[in-house]
């Protein structure tokens, strides 16, 4: 169904911007990645990333289409608490800061989050974890690919399939060329673009419409958005927070960065990135509230950001938001491709299929796997299914149920494999049940609560004694 009949830019402009920025990302990917011959260089950028790039990459990766497109969407659907709740996603970054430090100290030679779960909780738990992790990775990949296609289509009229294919292809290409170095380097440039773009848009909304008019418009047309006691929004607050914590704690996107940052950088980088990320969803989400004052029809909630931007700024606004969202999409898509590629290379290819593979073979395998990931994502994106946020929120129950197994695994000697496996399984099941029974805004919360209960109880009744040296001694190559 095509709900939106008016593209803001013409396809020629669209293709031009796409070509320009694609060329830029590919050039930068090649420039920064050309020396990455070793596996450590390709997968983990030489394990020596400094503070500025570390902060930027953590921030840019966390600012995804979720922030630039879903923050306005949630502001439109759940109001003030929607955007404030979204900004609580920053808590995940803060909380990962001490974990990143601990991870780097415990596993100086580690590669993936899968490595940790395998060594800490054994193979069965590890396989459950891998399934959750890959399911989430694909959920996110698909939502990013789809967001790319939908956005390009709505802004320029370029058909969905073309836009989606281009953005996937470009990201796969420069990730292949430069590995994690390319990903982290481009993230720095992308962060600057995203933040400046969002600031300009919010400033314009305030300047051209004004708080009074925005407030009056919302109060007239969508009054509940201003209600600080809106029930669904209240449920959403901690759900979103825990969802974010689950995403960051389990996903190899964040673990691979913990391994890649120079010793001593992780804690600082994640903390600063959290502070910097915190205001972005409010600034980006706020512009959605201008829709009623502007007399704008919003055909689909996930398009409200681009629509308001275009209405405010016309042609320039459409170009600006196009560049911002394209950067945001690319900065997450590349990270996710690289980190999921690592996870499959290390945890599936090496640990399951070719235990004796040497470094050269693994380097080659990593490249093939990243390309395959691109192809599979493309195939899954071809049919345009559910709305963007729904697709991503579906994974909430899965990831939130990994929070406690991971935290307990990192700090509690007595946390055990059976408990961790059960916590992930039952947390996911109960969380999914509430997703359908109540709504997307409780699934992660319930998943996390159930898994916490199981981890605590199982640690009390089946205590295991774990030797931390097991993690340290493991040299993956």
């Amino acid at each position: 169904m095509k709900a939106e009949n008016t593209a803001i830019l013409d396809p020629v402009t669209g293709w031009l911007i796409l070509a320009l920025f694609s060329a830029l990302w590919i050039f930068l990917g090649w420039l920064w990645g050309r020396r990455a011959k070793q596996l450590d260089e390709f997968m983990l950028a030489g394990r020596n990333v400094g503070l500025s790039l570390a902060v930027a990459t953590a921030m840019a990766t966390w600012v995804t289409s979720n922030t630039t497109m879903a923050a306005p969407q949630l502001a439109l659907q759940l109001g003030i608490w929607g955007m404030v709740g979204y900004s609580l996603g920053a808590i995940g970054l803060f909380m990962f800061a001490p974990l990143a430090k601990r991870i780097r100290e415990l596993m100086p030679h580690g590669y993936t989050s899968g490595d940790f779960i395998r060594l800490r909780f054994g193979k069965t738990t590890w396989r459950i974890f891998l399934m959750i992790s890959l399911f989430y990775a694909f959920g996110w990949l698909i939502s990013l690919g789809m967001a790319g296609g939908v956005l390009i289509n709505a802004l320029t009229g370029i058909p969905y399939t073309y836009g989606m294919s281009v953005i996937l292809f470009i990201c796969v290409l420069y990730t292949l060329l430069g590995g994690l170095r390319a990903v982290i380097g481009t993230d720095f440039v992308q962060t600057i673009i995203i933040v400046c773009g969002v600031i300009i848009l919010a400033y314009l909304a305030i300047d051209k419409v004004g708080f009074e008019a925005i407030h009056a418009g919302v109060q007239k047309e969508r009054p509940e958005l201003l209600n600080l006691l809106m029930p669904a929004a209240i449920m959403f607050l901690f759900n979103n927070l825990l969802f974010g914590v689950g995403e960051i704690f389990h996903s190899n996107v964040w673990w691979s960065r913990a391994f890649a940052f120079r010793s001593g950088v992780g804690f600082k980088a994640y903390t600063i990135a959290g502070v910097m990320w915190l205001p972005i969803p409010i600034v980006a989400g706020f512009i959605a509230l201008a829709a009623p004052a502007l007399g704008l029809n919003v055909p689909a909630a996930d398009m409200v950001g681009p629509l308001v931007a275009a209405k405010l700024l016309g042609f320039t606004g459409a170009v600006l938001i196009f560049i911002v969202v394209f950067s945001a999409l690319a900065s997450s898509l590349d990270s996710l491709l690289a980190a999921t590629g690592d996870l499959i290379t290390q945890d599936i290819y090496r640990q399951h299929l070719r235990p004796h593979a040497d470094e050269k073979e693994l380097r080659k395998a990593a490249m093939v796997i990243i390309s395959l990931l691109g192809v599979v994502t493309w195939l899954l994106c071809l049919p345009r299914l559910t709305t963007l946020a729904e697709l991503l929120y579906f994974t909430g129950a899965f990831v939130a149920s990994t929070i406690w197994p991971i935290v307990a695994g990192l700090y509690w000697q007595r946390a055990n494999r059976k408990g961790a496996a059960l916590a992930m399984l039952l947390g996911t099941c109960v969380g999914l049940y509430t997703y359908f029974a109540i709504g997307f805004y409780v699934a992660a919360l319930v998943g996390a609560a159930v898994s916490m209960l199981i981890v605590v109880i199982s640690t009390l009744i089946w205590p295991q004694s774990f030797d931390w040296q097991t993690l340290r001694n493991e040299d993956p190559l």
């Binding site: 939106e4 659907q77 449920m235 607050l237 996390a448 609560a449």
Partner: protein, 153 residues
């Protein structure tokens, strides 16, 4: 208060007029009536999407006075075939759509009206989940802090 019956009356006359006109104007016979779709179940968060199918370039979406609000008002006129409604308080809302031309004149009769019921979750339930989320969050922070302190010792 006496708004309502009058509205209903004028609606009736309006429909009669349309019926009458449709006999005279061939365009009314050609134009198909758009079909308005929306949520089938009660809405718990105040937001939902309306979309409609129909031939033609432009449409008019109207909200008809429900329990909370009297009168009929136009929510949208233009080429889009959907509208995301949000921020609605508890209540029953009625919508209808028709095809129009560039001058805003009707090209088709109104679609069948669609009623959407909004019943927000109870605050007790909301705060229950809020409290649960708070507890899980605080416990997680606590074990990370305790763990970090223990390790550095």
């Amino acid at each position: 208060m006496d708004e309502r019956p009058r509205t209903r009356n004028s609606l009736k006359t309006c429909q009669k007029n349309i019926l009458f006109l449709s006999l005279l104007l061939p365009s009314y016979l050609w134009a198909s009536v758009p079909v308005l779709n929306g949520p089938h179940e009660t809405v718990n968060a105040g937001y939902f999407q309306l979309n409609w199918e129909g031939e033609g370039e432009r449409f008019e979406l109207q909200e008809q006075g429900g329990e909370t609000q009297a009168g009929t008002r136009t929510l949208y006129t233009g080429p889009d075939t959907a509208s995301a409604i949000s921020g609605r308080a508890d209540g029953s809302y009625r919508f209808r759509v028709r095809q129009i031309n560039a001058q805003g004149q009707a090209l088709s009769p109104w679609s069948q009206a669609l009623t959407v019921d909004v019943v927000h979750h109870s605050l007790a339930k909301a705060f229950g989940f809020f409290l649960l989320g708070f507890l899980v969050f605080i416990s997680t922070v606590a074990i990370v802090l305790a763990g970090t302190r223990h390790v550095s010792r």
